[in-house]
């Protein structure tokens, strides 16, 4: 699909998708990365994303939704500008992951899968993010923050708050 005027994506992302579908023996292999990169730009996987991705790959919207519902990184609703993902799996739990989640919840005034009223932060308890030796760990969007304490977590949140007000 090269009709740039009909795409909902930026010209850069549209060009990237044009190339992505040519890399694999079958076009459909581009589906998971395409959805994730679309989500990064749009904020979530909207109906319009589903429609355009289905069209680009040549599958039905139902095929796309089937895949979206499987992967935990994919979401069909917007989250905060900074999505705070706290790991509480075993290695993090042993080093204070649960307490860190509780602390974030108190500080932000929101619970699991909720967003602050200003849309700045959202919170999610997540499964192992692969930072076990540097536990407890939190991912904000795609950035890792490791060896955290409630105090250092506050600094992390403050940094993002400052970044947003610039």
């Amino acid at each position: 699909m090269a009709a740039e005027n009909t795409t909902i994506f930026s010209p850069q992302l549209a060009a990237r998708f044009d190339r992505l579908v040519t890399l694999y023996p079958v076009k459909r292999s581009a589906l998971v990365p395409m959805l994730l990169y679309a989500q990064d730009e749009i904020g979530y996987i909207s109906d319009a994303v589903v429609a355009e991705v289905a069209q680009r790959i040549g599958i039905t919207e139902l095929d796309v939704r089937n895949v979206v519902s499987y992967y935990s990184l994919m979401r069909t609703k917007p989250v905060g500008k900074y999505h705070v993902q706290v790991c509480t799996n075993i290695s993090c739990m042993l080093r204070g992951g649960n307490e860190l989640l509780h602390h974030c919840s108190q500080r932000l005034g929101i619970g699991h899968k909720q967003t602050t009223p200003d849309g700045l932060f959202s919170l999610e308890e997540v499964e192992c993010i692969g930072a076990c030796s540097w536990a407890p760990a939190v991912q904000v969007n795609y950035d890792y923050h490791e060896n955290l304490t409630p105090e250092s977590m506050d600094k992390v949140l403050d940094q993002y708050r400052a970044k947003a007000s610039k």
Partner: protein
């Protein structure tokens, strides 16, 4: 940037280039990069496979299958194209080793894929990383682009007649996709549910073609085998367990970290000397030796060598090398519950024993932890776990059942202490409500 942790007993083979800027292709070349694949161009495919067999390299993802033997299962002639698929979907709780390889030495993964390609006659490879590792995907994509630019990938690589393409693929958050057949489904743009076997991937895998699927650490080790010699590599480890591996030490330790140690390294020494022992003068209670799916070991069971065979003999598994250490303050019911919550969340739901079994186990353990359990709940946990074992399409069911059964068997008294009608006597559930993942 995460680094390998140092200790005098560390043997740097796979980590030889860590911390030396080898993500830069020129630096990689200075550090003997792409020399192993050049050697392999001069070798017959069978000779390459035999070298890998001689090295004693076994799969670092968890199953420990001999890598050379896996490669030898690929048929020589195939009507469909053959593929190399690197499993970098690292998501077993307790495991954080592959990320160091992608961060510090991405070209070793590319070189390993090229060598595997020469050995089995494949012309295309995929490097699949978990979606959370976005910064590593960017590092890996740059390494691949640099390799194309130098003529190490693409048409006529290294000035030979060989062609080879590599695509870096992102996952999107699914533990199940670390299972090899689900990984192929995901790469084909589908839900990551496992395929029934046979046929095995070596015969009919990705897009129906013969496919080699290796863990990222396994494939990144291959160039080092040709760099230092297969016999020399094998000699670093123990019998039938060649070489070294990256061990991820986590939990209650003074010095948690990722360490490269010889296969067969003593677990007790790993905890007390390499990991610095248990903090705050606490006593050791238990060790999960190879990622959350491996059965727990008691303090009196840890004087063993960390290789696939010795850990199996001790009743557990070496798994993915994720050593999780628990001190005396941990409530084993709570720990078992957190473990099973993970498997319940990640079960793909494709087959019933796993989908229902993980859910039942979670409910029983939650009852025990929160109070309200009755004595038959404890036997019920064992009964459910026994009925999941070996009855699922893929090993996720086993991964949930095995550790749960071991927790009950080895800490039965502690489970019984939870039958007081009030719930956990050690770590009462906090008064705030925790989200259930």
């Amino acid at each position: 940037m995460a680094y390998l942790t140092t200790h005098p007993d560390v043997v740097p083979v796979i980590s030889f280039r860590f911390g030396k800027g080898a993500a830069d292709i020129d630096r990689y070349l200075e550090l003997d990069g792409y020399k192993s694949v050049r050697k392999c161009f001069e070798m017959e495919p069978d000779a390459i496979i035999n070298e890998v067999k001689t090295s004693g390299l076994r799969g670092r993802g968890g199953a420990g299958f001999p890598a050379g033997m896996k490669w030898s299962f690929v048929p020589k002639e195939s009507a469909k194209p053959k593929y190399i698929l690197v499993n970098g979907d690292e998501s077993e709780p307790g495991t954080c080793k592959d990320r160091l390889i992608f961060e510090h030495d991405p070209h070793s993964v590319i070189e390993g894929v090229l060598i595997a390609g020469l050995a089995v006659g494949a012309k295309m490879g995929f490097i699949y990383l978990r979606g959370e590792y976005r910064f590593l995907i960017e590092i890996m994509e740059k390494a691949v682009a640099d390799a194309y630019q130098r003529g190490f990938l693409g048409k006529g690589i290294f000035g030979t007649k060989h062609d080879f393409e590599i695509v870096v693929q992102t996952g999107a958050g699914a533990y199940e996709v670390g299972e090899e057949s689900a990984l192929m489904e995901s790469l084909e743009g589908k839900r990551g549910v496992p395929r029934i076997r046979p046929p095995f991937p070596a015969v009919a895998g990705l897009y129906g073609g013969p496919t080699i699927i290796n863990n990222a650490e396994t494939i990144a080790t291959v160039p080092h085998i040709f760099r230092i010699g297969a016999k020399e590599y094998a000699a670093l480890g123990t019998e039938r367990n060649g070489g070294t591996r990256l061990f991820c030490l986590s939990g209650h330790l003074e010095k948690p970290g990722v360490y490269e140690l010889p296969m067969g390294y003593n677990l007790k020494k790993m905890i007390y000397e390499v990991g610095g022992g248990i903090p705050n003068g606490k006593k050791l209670k238990a060790v999960v030796p190879g990622g959350s799916s491996t059965p727990v070991l008691l303090p009196e069971e840890i004087d063993i060598g960390m290789d696939f065979d010795q850990v199996a003999k001790a009743g557990s598994m070496l798994g993915s090398g994720g050593v999780v250490v628990l001190d005396e303050t941990v409530c084993m019911v709570e720990f078992a519950l957190r473990t099973i919550k993970f498997y319940q969340h990640e079960s793909c739901g494709w087959c019933i024993p796993c989908r229902e079994g993980t859910d039942w186990l979670k409910k029983s353990l939650t009852r025990l932890h929160m109070g309200g359990a009755v004595d038959k709940d404890i036997d019920q946990i064992k009964y459910i776990a026994d009925n999941m074992l070996g009855r699922t399409f893929c090993p996720l069911g086993d991964a949930a059942a095995m550790p749960t059964a071991a927790f009950v068997k080895k800490f039965r008294k502690e489970f019984e202490d939870h039958l007081n009608g009030k719930g956990c006597p050690y770590h009462p559930a906090p008064d705030y409500e925790l989200a259930t993942v």
